[in-house]
Symmetry: C2
Subunit: 228 residues, 2 copies
DNA sequence: ATTTCGAATTAGCTAAGGCTAATATTGGGC
DNA sequence: GCCCAATATTAGCCTTAGCTAATTCGAAAT
C-alpha cells in the first residue's frame, strides 16, 4: 500500500515546514498560514506556495482559508525530524560538552544532513535515551512519541508537589537563566503563591530553595503532579 | 584588507565545487571543466555556469577554454571543507564505530552542515589528530596542511623498506578489500617484484607477510621511504 | 443583512543551480 | 597551414523557494 508513497528524500525547506506544522497542530487543530510564516520567518505567500506543493505530494491536508493538518505520512516525516533533532541535542551535550542553551542551532542544521544510521548509532551510544536535554520526549526510530500530560508551572496547584519534567523553549537566554536558577528537568517544585494580574510565581525547589519567577517563564516549565 | 572578502556563507554546491577544484588542481595545474563535471556528476554547462559565479565572487580564476585555479580565498574555503570532512571521518570511526569504508558518504553530507565550533570540539575530543582514517593529513583550523612527499607503492623501489602512509581512495569496496589484506596506514611494506605490462606487485607486509596486488590498487597506496 | 478588516491567496518577479541543444574554440594530425 | 574532433561556452529552459503587490475570502460587528 505504501508503494505509491515512495520515500522520496525531502528538501531542507520541506523538512522545516513539516516540523513547524507538527508543533503548531499538535494540540489537535489546524496550523494557520500566518503562524507557519511567523515560525519560519518567511512571508505568508511563500507558505501558501509551499502548502500547495506539500498537499500535492500528500504530506498534508489543506482546507483553504482555514489551515493545514499533517497526513499520516507527513506526521511520520515530522517525527523523524524531531527524533533527529532531539538525539543530536542530547549527543552534543553529553558527548561534546555543549551547554543545553547552545545546542539548538547546531542540531537545527545537522538534522537535515545526518543519516538514520548515524542517529541510531548516537542513540545507541547514549543508551537509547527517552528525553532530550530539555526534557522533551525523543520519538523512537519506529515513530512513536510519548504523550505525557504536563501542566505549565503557572497553572500548578498551590502547595502541591510536582516534578519539573520539561523546559519548553529553545531560547538560549531563557535557558541560561533557568539553568542558573536550578530550574532543570528532574527537580521537585511546589508553588507557594501566585501574584494576580500575571504577576510572579513563588515556588520551592527540591533540591534548591525558594525562587520567584515571572509568569512568562512559569508557562515554559512543564510539570507533572507527583501522585499522578 | 579582507574587509571586502566578507565571509559570506557558501552554498552546499559551491562548497562541493571548491573541494573538487582543490583536488584537481593540487598538483599545480588548472582544473578543466570536464574533469570538474565528471567528479561532481553534473553536465559540463552546469560547470561553466558555476565557474562564472565563483570567479565573480573571487573564489577562483578562470582562463577561458583552459581551466580554473583557486584564489587564496578559494583555497582557504576548500581547505576548511577538507578539514571538516577529515575530522568527521575520524570522529565517526573513532567514536561511533563506523568502518573506514563507510564514513565517506556520511561525512560528505555532514561537512556542509557542521559549525566550525563543532569540528573544533570533535578535533579536541580526538586530541587534535593529524591524519584521517585513510592517512590523509587534516588541515589545521588555521588552514595549514601537511605536504608530504609520498610515492605510490607501484613506483616504489624494489627491496627498499617503505611505510604505508595513506590509502588514496574513498571507494568502499576497494577500502574493504585493502583492509582485509592488512594494507592500512602505518604498515611497513617492501616491494619484492613487479610484473611487466602493468602486472601485479609482490610485496612483504610488516607485520603481515607476502601479498600480491594489482597495479590499480598499488597506485592508491601512498608510501614513504623509511630512510627519507 | 451588510460592511469591513484581517488573513489567505494569486500574480508575477528573482536567484541558484541544474538540464539539453546549439555554437565556438583549440590543438593535434596531415 | 588547414581541418577535424574534442572540449568549452552560450542560449534557453526547468524547478525550488523565496519576495512584493494586488486581490479575494470569511467572520465579526454593526
Amino acid at each position: 500500500m505504501s508503494a505509491l508513497l515512495a520515500d522520496v528524500p525531502l528538501s531542507r525547506s520541506v523538512e522545516d515546514y513539516l516540523k513547524v506544522i507538527y508543533h503548531l497542530s499538535s494540540q489537535g487543530g489546524f496550523a494557520s498560514t500566518s503562524d507557519i510564516a511567523a515560525m519560519l520567518m518567511v512571508a505568508p505567500p511563500s507558505v501558501s506556495g509551499m502548502i500547495r506543493r506539500l498537499s500535492d505530494t500528500g504530506l498534508l491536508e489543506h482546507v483553504p482559508y482555514r489551515g493545514v493538518q499533517l497526513t499520516n505520512q507527513g506526521r511520520r516525516a515530522a517525527l523523524r525530524m524531531i527524533r533527529r533533532h532531539r538525539v543530536l541535542e542530547l549527543y552534543l551535550t553529553e558527548r561534546l560538552d555543549y551547554d543545553w542553551d547552545g545546542v539548538h542551532d547546531e542540531a537545527e542544521r545537522l538534522e537535515h544532513a545526518v543519516s538514520d544510521e548515524l542517529i541510531d548509532r548516537m542513540a545507541r551510544a547514549l543508551g537509547n535515551p527517552r528525553y532530550d536535554p530539555h526534557g522533551a520526549p525523543i520519538p523512537t526510530a519506529a515513530g512513536e512519541i510519548e504523550e505525557a500530560v504536563l501542566v505549565p508551572l503557572a497553572d500548578a496547584e498551590i502547595r502541591v508537589a510536582y516534578e519539573l519534567r520539561q523546559v519548553d523553549t529553545e531560547d538560549p537566554a531563557r535557558l541560561r537563566y533557568l539553568a542558573g536558577q536550578g530550574l532543570v528537568p528532574g527537580k521537585g517544585v511546589t508553588v507557594m503563591s501566585k501574584q494576580p494580574f500575571n504577576g510572579p510565581v513563588t515556588l520551592i525547589l527540591d533540591p534548591g530553595g525558594e525562587r520567584v519567577i515571572g509568569r512568562e517563564l512559569a508557562l515554559l516549565l512543564l510539570c507533572r503532579r507527583n501522585d499522578a
